[in-house]
Structure formats: C-alpha cells, structure tokens
Amino acid sequence: MNVLSEKLLGGKQGAVGLAILALLLFVVFPLWLDLFRLGLLGKYVTYAFVAISLVLLWGNGGILSLGQGMFFGLGGYCMAMFLKLEASDPVSTKIQSTPGIPDFMDWNQLTAIPFFWQPFKSLPLTLLLVLLVPTTLAFIIGFAMFKRRVGGVYFAIITQAIALILSILIVGQQGYTGGVNGITDLKTMLGWDIRTDSAKYILYFTNAGLLIGCMLLARYILTSKFGMLLLAMRDKEERVRFSGYDVSNFKIFIFCVAAMISAIGGAMFTLQIGFMSPSFVGIVPSIEMVIFAAVGGRMSLIGAVYGTLLVNFGKTMFSETYPELWLFLMGGLFIAVVMFFPDGLAGVYQKYADKFNLGGLAAKYFSKFTQWVPKNSGGKL
C-alpha cells in the first residue's frame, strides 16, 4: 500500500475496520431501519463527531476537555442561526409585531436583527463560521492555558467552567439566542425543505460521509509524526520539550482540531434534527460525550463511534422503559469504564482478538478481517 493510503487508512487493518463501519452506516442501517430510527441513528452519529475529537484530544493527547459540548453547540448554533433567519422571512412572520425577525426576538421586544446575527444571512459565510467560531474559541482557550503550562485536572475544570459560562450566557440572553428553548422551527436551507423524508435521507448520508471524512483526517494526524508526538507528550511532556518541540503549539493545534470536528457534528445535528438548544452546550452533555469515547475506547476512532452508538441506543431504550435505572446505569458505566476497562470496548476486543489470535485465524480463512487497534501503534483506528 502506498504511503498516502498507509497514512489515511492505517494499513490493511485500519482499512478493513473502517470499511465495515462504512458498510454499516451507508448500506446496512439505511436498509434495515425505518426513517424514524434512522433519524435517531443520525443523531447519534453527530455525537460521534465529538467522541472522535476526544480520541484525538484525550486518548492520544492526554488532554481531558469537559467542555466539548461548547464547540458542538457553537457549530450547531451557527447553522441554526442561518436556518432561523431563512425561516423568519417577512411573509411567514407577518403576524409578529416586527415581521422579518425570528419569533423569539419578537417575543423579547427586539425590533431588529442583532449585528452578530447578520453574517448568518449567507450560507457560505455560515459554513465558514461553523468551522471558524468554535476553532477560534478553542484557540483562545488553548493559547491562554497551554502557553501557561496549565494542563491535566486544572484544564479540565476550567473547560467545565467555560462551558458553564457559555450555557448560562445563552440561556440568559433570551432575546439574542432563543434562551433555554434554543432555536427551533427550522424549515428550509436555501429553499430546500429539510423536513421532508427525502431531505432526511440526504442529510443522513451527508452526515455519515462527513463522519468518515473526519475519521480519515484524524487518522492522518495520528499516523503522522504529529500523532506520535501527541502520544509522547501525553506520557512524557518534559522529554518532548527537551527534544526541541514547543509543546504548547501542539496542544493548541489538537485542541482546535477537536473543536472543529465537534462543531461539524453540531451543525449536522441542527440540520437533521431541526433545532439547537443550550442543553447541548453545558457541563452535563459535555461530560456525557466523554463517556461515549470512554466506553467505545478512547484510543480507537472506530471504537469511539461504536461506543457512541451503543451508549445512546441504550439510553433511548432504557429511558423509555426504566428511566430511574438509566441514571444508575450511566453512573455505573462511568465507574466501570474507569476501573475495569479503561481502553473501552475496543480494548476488550483487542485483548480477546489477541488471545485467540483472531487476526491469524481470520487471515487464514478470510483474507480481510483483522484487528481494530494494532498494538504499539498508539491505537490509531
């Protein structure tokens, strides 16, 4: 395999794992599930973006961020603002005191669109901002923290505080942000109705495609020298610094990449589910997203995706039938993952795959199928 595909796919093993996932997402699930459940799956897939970002940031970089919800939310809000502006044209809103502005602004006696909403009238600009706004925030936070050598637990607590600040701000400024209900009633994107069945299918496939794309990007990063340095920094930051690397730059970069990937997930969430609210921005959702990555395997991109799907599927199932049980389960899951299987499901799979030499067996009988996480590779896929 030539070098580029080696970097993107991690050799034969990574390629196979990714192919299986792609097969599931693009073929098996769409055929097997009805549209409603496919929509649920699409929702989980958007969370998976954050899980992947955490594999990069936390699993490989050793940087625990308890505020990834911020970036997910910011990406989502940017998209929501564009869609809301489009849905608030003067004709549909003619019953408002001030037509042509979003309903919640009207309810809060605003009479004009605030200045920071203006850029979201244009789709290209919105798409750019979806990527830029969260990344800029991440850059500011990262610069302030990593240049001052703040890391570990302190960093985690501060990301938590910032997520809290952002969520309080959004909820408090109802007129500007839609408050606790968020931005809802989204209808069309450049005239294309996003609520129709066909639109939902298209959005689902776009979503899955973007996820695979982000995984390839993450893969590229992890198999490069940068990826190896990330692992080195996680385990022995001092030594890396004394080998001539400006550690803070690397940390800032990966934090920004993680923010950007999470933001894409957020924007896709808004498109598929049709709203965005502060309930995705704060402390609780951020830490839930960490558990998705932890359960699936914080070192494994594919594992993190499966972990997200699994945990969310469990949540939906349990919350309906045994809501009380679910919170216990979730708490227990946190504890269990930390105490008993820190490498998540991917780690467990790896252990048994090695034990029974599934790789060898499989290679013998099926020329494809190998391990998820190659040993000593720093857990690339």
């Binding site: 625990l64 923290m145 909820v171 402390i283 216990f328 930390v338």
Partner: protein, 305 residues
C-alpha cells in the same frame, strides 16, 4: 444602575453583602471539604456536591421527625452533627470502594466520581422524590433583625456564617495543631516517609477523604437554612466550589477563605446590578481570566522547582 443615592447604595451593599455572606459561608464550607480532598490529596471529587446533598437531606429528614415529635426548636444542632457523621461514613466507604484505586490517575478519578454523583443523584430521587424539599427550621433561626431601619439582616444568614466560622476554625485547629492533622499533612507531603515512620497512610487517606465529605455534609445542613434541596442541588454548587479552591490556590487554607469570600461577594453584588445570570457569568469569567493569567491561584505556596 446609578439612580440610587449614596446612602441607598450603602444599604444595598450591606444587604447584598450579607446575602453574599450566606453564599460565602456555604461556599466556604463546600470549598473547605474540597480543599482538603483536592488540595491535600489531589483527588477530584465530582460527587462533592452530592455529599453536601446528603447533609441537606439528612437535615430535612430529621426536621420531619422533629415536627412529628415536637422538638423543632432543639433538633437542629443534632441534625448538623448527624449530617457530618453520615457524610463522613459514606465518604469513608466510597474511599475504600472506589477512590483508593485511582490515586495515580486524577483524570480518571474525575470521571469515576462524576459517575458516582449520577448514581447518588438518582438515589436521592428514588428515596426523596424529584421535587425539592425543605427543612422545618427552628424558630430561633427565622426572621431577621434590623440594626437600622433600612437594613434587614436575616438571622439564618448570621447563623450560617457563625457555623462556617466554627467549622473553619475547627478544621484549622485540627489540621495544624493536632496529631491527627499532623499525620495527614505528613502523609500528603511525603507519603513514603510517613509510611516509614509508622503512619498507616491508607487509613489516613480514608480518614482525610471522609473528613472532607463530612464537612460537605455540614455545608448541606447549613444550606437548608437558606434554600430548599432537590436531587440536583449538589451539582449547582460543584463548579463554584472547584473555582473557589482552584482560585485560592489549592493547598492554602487562607487562600480558600479569601477566595470564597471574594467570589461570593463579587457574585452577590454583581447580581444585584445586572441580571442574576449575567452576574454569575461575569464572576465566573473574571475567575477564569485571572486563572489564565495566574494558574497557580491567588495564594499558591512557593515550592522549589
């Protein structure tokens, strides 16, 4: 914001200052427990708020009993003690079951204790219901006194402050003037040597963690005098408490006190002049910015690099 007279502003400051003092007292008690656990042991206990809730629920429960047996005016002090003991015991148990396995892994401790907090919240919900509950306060805690006609000072606020003061002084005396405290500080500063001179470091760890939780229980009891308690009450204060500890410089008792005071006052006063949420945002943002400029906190001890 500026259409008050100077006298009125003075009164507002005093009254907000006092409500700030109640907040300060609760924050201080929470932060004291956290400072011991985090500052001394380096353990992040995300369930600390839930230990506070344990204390609060205990007090509520005992107040219900007190109403039944008509001892409403006398039960409160016993409730505080019970809150301490119960939180202490649960903390002891948790350290044994969970925390002691995770000392070398602070980030994992964070996640595990978050899971614990979820489980505890659900336990509260299952036992006490999802709605908020209040304690029947004894008569001597109700009402307020008025040093001047324009200033209204609630008695429960003064009580809570007094309680915080007593606890803080006790903790100080214990940590810095008793053998038990000496053992704790020895273990934290040099575990190996402490073990070598015969200190049972595992037991000390357990007791330290339990002590921190016990203090949180007292915070919970104090909390019932100013607000009602629900399953998620603990999570309301956890971020603030961590901010207080980190801002004050995790290892410093004085720092914790100063930090709790500053933060509580800033929030109260800001909240009067801005909306409640903006006040909180402003306070938190200021703390975060200051921490970015001075990560070790206000009163960090000078350690040789």
């Amino acid at each position: 914001m500026f259409d008050y007279t100077m006298a009125e502003i003075g009164n507002i400051v005093v009254m907000q200052g006092f409500s700030g003092l109640s907040l300060f007292s609760v924050l201080l008690l929470m932060a004291l427990g956290l400072a011991i656990i985090f500052g001394q042991m380096g353990v992040i206990n995300m369930a600390h708020g839930e230990f506070m809730a344990v204390g609060a629920y205990t007090t509520v429960f005992m107040s219900k009993m007190a109403v039944k047996y008509d001892i409403v005016n006398t039960y409160f002090v016993f409730a505080i003690l019970t809150a301490f003991v119960l939180a202490f015991l649960i903390g002891y148990l948790i350290e044994y079951l969970l925390i002691r396995h995770l000392y070398k892994r602070p980030l994992d401790t964070l996640l595990a204790t978050w899971g614990l907090s979820l489980a505890m919240q659900q336990t509260f919900r299952s036992i006490f219901g999802a709605k908020e509950v209040s304690a029947e306060l004894p008569e001597w805690l109700l009402g307020s006194f008025q040093p001047t006609p324009d200033i209204d000072i609630p008695i429960n606020g003064v009580f809570v402050m007094g309680l915080a003061l007593v606890v803080t002084v006790s903790v100080y005396m214990f940590m810095y003037r008793s053998r038990g405290g000496l053992r704790i500080r020895a273990t934290m500063q040099n575990r190996v040597m402490a073990g070598a001179v015969g200190i049972n470091t595992k037991k000390v760890d357990r007791l330290t963690f339990a002590l921190g939780c016990g203090i949180a229980g007292v915070a919970g009891a104090a909390f019932t005098t100013i607000a009602s308690t629900g399953p998620t009450t603990g999570s309301l204060y956890i971020v603030d408490s961590f901010m207080v500890v980190v801002f004050g410089g995790a290892a410093s008792l004085m720092g914790t006190i100063a930090s709790a005071f500053g933060i509580a006052q800033a929030q109260s006063i800001l909240q009067f002049f801005m909306t409640s949420s903006m006040g909180k945002v402003a306070t938190l943002m200021t703390i975060v910015i200051i921490l970015m400029l001075r990560p070790e906190g206000l009163f960090a001890s000078k350690v040789r690099k």
